[in-house]
Amino acid sequence: MVLPGRKKSIAFFIALGVGLISVILLLYIGWVLLNWRTGIQLFLGALLLIMLIAGVVLNTVFLVREIRRNEQHDAFINAVTHELKTPVASIRLYLETLQTRALEETKRQEFYRIMLDDSDRLLGTIEQILRTGRIGAARGPLNLTRIDLGEVVETCIERARNLYHAPEGSIRYQTGPRAAVLGDLDEVKAAVSNLIDNAVKYSGTDVNVTVETAIVDAKYVSVRVHDEGPGIPKSELKQIFKRFYRVPGQLATRVKGTGLGLYIVRSVAKRHGGRAWAESEGPGRGSTFVLELPIAK
């Protein structure tokens, strides 16, 4: 695909940076040999040299970063194209089927249900993108209210059960002491929903998800979402909260997503003065996502 080209250009710019620094050093050494007697000039030259090297290093770092960002952006566009077009294609296919073929009532009802599922999926993707825009660019004001965290978790679990047709008992809620947070209901709901959605999506066919709420200390309350899914390599635990980032490999193609969900979770946590992180013993050993929010006084 395009990736080898990108790797080449990253390597090229790093080589260019190193090359330029070597040329500067060579020129400087020559200059020192010629002017070693004039002290002030030497000092100024050294200063200039440091500035030049810093400039080249900065330039290289920014270039490499920009190339990486472009790469993630392309992957995001591909994923979003897929996530937007697939449900539309499905809805359209079923509508055309309903329009052109004589169907039994049961079939008709089944097709309506499929189309509703697809429109939910489409809406989910659109909301995710719009939310990222709101959180990322505008940093708009929070609509703060007192929220019962337990209630939010129950609503989100109910939503996930319906959306993924999860069997009874596959998503469990272990209620803790009642706790309220001062937050934006819409955003907190989105964050908790994203964590539960991820846990279900990545579990595959054998969904076994536990959600817990607990009071951490006098200041914070937490939501922990635990799954028995594929787990996360240690090196990826921080990366996965970055915008557009998806762990490379087979799993990212099996489980469809835009790479925005956890970015939203982390942004919501930050906006509320809390934090979010992931824990995992490694691949194959499940994972736990924690969202910590300040308790409402």
């Binding site: 194209t81 697939t86 539309v88 499929i114 193609t253």
Partner: protein
């Protein structure tokens, strides 16, 4: 009854396609990975008449699947059905060996018409193979195109041709000596509408030249007609 293999991991789409194609009277088999499709399509066996192949599959993607099939000598007519509609993706699909390409969302009627088109072409080819071999092969300048076996013999070398390569070559041979426009080829060989990108054809010509020209950079049989398309010349005049 013709049988169709659908390779699609989106369950809703796959089931919708299965329902409609079965309603059209086809036998339909659905798999959700490229690996499963490769297992069902061993070279030399024709269990399916047409394959509908998605690109974004878990594991091996559609481009890899189609090129592995072609390399292994499995030339089942294949339509790629994918959300990726960028011209580069379409060209990549054709270059990998797809016979047709349709982007999602698609119109059901068009999808069915294209599948019928692919089936019709294989039937024509099959009907042609039932006739004496002389009618179904073409000799020129020491080279023999065998349309029924989908192969091209140049001296003692044999190049396998895909169904679409054979169709393109047949079309050009039928119009021997006359310029044929890219548009006409798209319409007649692929049954595509005129707004389709015509560069896809150039890929086929590049590949055909590699087979039939002694020096593909200086073609003598498959000539480019500037601003129009291509012209096939069976017996080129000797240079000088």
């Amino acid at each position: 009854m013709s049988s169709i293999l659908i390779v699609e991991d989106e369950q809703h789409l796959a089931e919708g396609l299965r329902f409609n194609l079965e309603a059209e009277g086809y036998q339909v088999h659905v798999v959700d990975t490229g690996e499963a499709a490769l297992e069902l399509l061993p070279p030399g066996q024709n269990r399916f008449d047409v394959v509908v192949l998605d690109v974004m599959l878990p594991g091996k993607d559609g481009f890899t699947v189609i090129s592995e099939l072609r390399q292994a000598g499995q030339f089942v007519p294949t339509l790629m059905l994918t959300a990726r509609g960028h011209p580069d993706d379409v060209l990549k699909g054709f270059a990998a060996g797809a016979d047709d390409y349709l982007t999602k969302p698609f119109e059901l009627g068009i999808l069915i018409a294209r599948i019928r088109g692919l089936l019709r072409r294989s039937e024509w080819l099959r009907a042609a193979t039932a006739q004496p071999e002389a009618k179904d092969s073409f000799r020129f300048n020491g080279k023999t195109v065998n349309f029924d076996r989908l192969e091209l013999r140049v001296r003692d070398q044999v190049f396998p041709l895909t169904l679409m390569e054979a169709n393109v070559l047949r079309f050009l041979i039928q119009h021997e000596g006359k310029p044929v426009s890219r548009k006409l080829m798209l319409e007649e060989v692929w049954s595509l509408r005129e707004d389709t990108d015509t560069r896809a054809i150039d890929n086929f010509i590049v590949r055909l030249r590699r087979y039939i020209e002694d020096d593909p950079t200086h073609p003598r049989h498959l000539l480019t007609v500037r601003g129009v398309g291509y012209r096939f010349v069976a017996a080129p005049a000797e240079a000088g």
